[in-house]
Amino acid sequence: MMKVNKVLAVVIGCLALLAVPASAETPLMEELMKKYTFPLIFLSLAGAVAGVAYLYLTGLLPKVMFESWKWVDERFALHKYFSMAKREYYSVVYTLLPATGRTMPQSHTERYNVKAVWYWYPFYSLGGLSFFAYIVLTITGIYLGFYYVPDGEFITDPETGEKTSGAYKSMELIMTQVTFGYIIRAVHHWSAHFMVASVFLHMMRVYFVGAYRNPREVNWILGTLLLGITIFFGYTGYLLPWDELGFAAGSIGLEMATSIPAMGPLMAQIIFGGTQLTGDTVTRMYWLHIFVLPLIGTVLIIVHMALVWIQGEAEPH
């Protein structure tokens, strides 16, 4: 009993030391949690990894996984859907394969029994890498969306006397105040550049190996639409901070939109919210950037990848 008391005293003493300087108002535990949020998150993650590792090393992992699978399966009869999906998958494989030469996805090495590492391989992963960048952009974009304010109305800053806007102020907030705001925006910025670059290179690869030929014309056209969407994503994105660069880009875009014969002003109205750059422009760009383009883009990406899945990759011989 004495031992336990001693151990408890040591633990509580350590906690109290960690909590220095704990103020009188806030309880000890709250102060601790406030101070050690991220270490705690890290610790819990490490604990989870350690737990899985323990299960794996003792050989209990399959048992635990099977038990939990059984628990879910009892309630939702998932095995039915799984076996159905499996049967459908292989039925498609064996109906498509011999008849048309179109395959469900096999890797290049699987298909041609190539033993060596294929030296063109990196070019074939560009589409996947741009999708990866798209996912990173989604995650970081959600975080930025918590803090960004799509308010482009020009106001005069009472302190400096210069023109500014709500959007620009929120950008400054993200860059200076928000936790991880700077790094998240930087990752968003760079993965956007990477995505555009990899989409360009992906298209070059497809062109130079002639992968757009029959039967993949539709996928090529979808791909060009996705290229356009990616570029438009980038364009709307760098207008949003509403700084000098964004304003200049907006002016150029507005000029281009209005110079389209016959339907110029209409296009300007649809995309820029008028023939002048105002606060409405930022709102439009924001809505395009966070809703319209992601919606169309995600649907097209899914169709694009489904077509690759069905028709197989095109590898030149």
Binding site: Y112, V114, G128, Y207, N214, G234, A248
Partner: protein, 351 residues
Amino acid sequence: MNEDNATEMINEYQDEQVALDTISKIENREEHSVLEADMVKGEPLYPHEMTRDGVLTMYIMALFFFLAAFVPPPLHKAADPTAVTPFPPPLPDWYLLWAFGCLKVAQDIEMNLPLSMIPFLGLEDIELMLMSAKVWGTLVQGLIFGLVVAVPFIDRAIGTFIDPQYGDVINRGHERRPIEDPVRAAIGVYGIAMVIMLSVFSINANIAMYYPEIDTNVLTQITLWGPIGCALITYLFLDRRRSEGAKPLSDEERFDLYTNGITDRRMQRIYEFKLNRCYQCGLCDDICPVRDMEGEHELNIIFNTFQNEHDGVAMWSCITCGMCTAVCPQNIEYVDYVLEQRALATAGVSS
């Protein structure tokens, strides 16, 4: 037992057979035929390619964080509609420079009607503005995008134009490497070079600040002729590479080979050396008429000859038709290889 029951039983039996067949196919998916049994299996998607993809993804993630940490994303001064545009003006991001370049390249298209040249009418010259720079600079972007969208159909049309009878058929579903299709590769290089040059052209004001000797006229000339030069170089290079494949033996060399066997084992004469160009696409095996008629999937003449397998069955069943070379992307003369191997095999036998 009535008729319905019998039908049902037959149906059930058939379903069962289909299921069994499918299962056996799935289970034997990775296995090879008897003749190729000791061939190494290909690398599976999991874990090999998944690992490779995973490593690449990790690298890219690391790259993002590296760039994010060391190259900060720019945030310029707040937008001010009343401010004077600075010089040189701020540029759009790199991937939009080509569109910007289209706008800058564009000039007003005017036409002079020298009406005063017509005698007795007393007319004055008229200057007609056909299209303003802004309009066609924008239209050109749409044109470029439209061309890119239409690539499959343009490609097919070119194929049909070159060979009205079979061009369309030949192109159908045949992805090719650039070396097999130098014209298409040259066109692609032209497009890429053009886009790059348009991007360079769009920053002419910035270039002129640092290199005054590169003025707009020079840039215009480079934009016009540079891409054409790139395309020409690409075509010449690829065409040369294409004809560089293993050269067939001359008649004298063949005669010498078949009468005397191999006397001179120089490096270039040994077809194992030439076979190093092979990257196992399998087209020769696909087209091989012997394989088609006799072996189905079980006789790969080249491969089995190369492996010295099956007491020369593979080697001696070749009819030396040369179809394999006709489809080979590397122009490897397999017939000569097989003949050489036959000569080697019979070298010790006196006739």
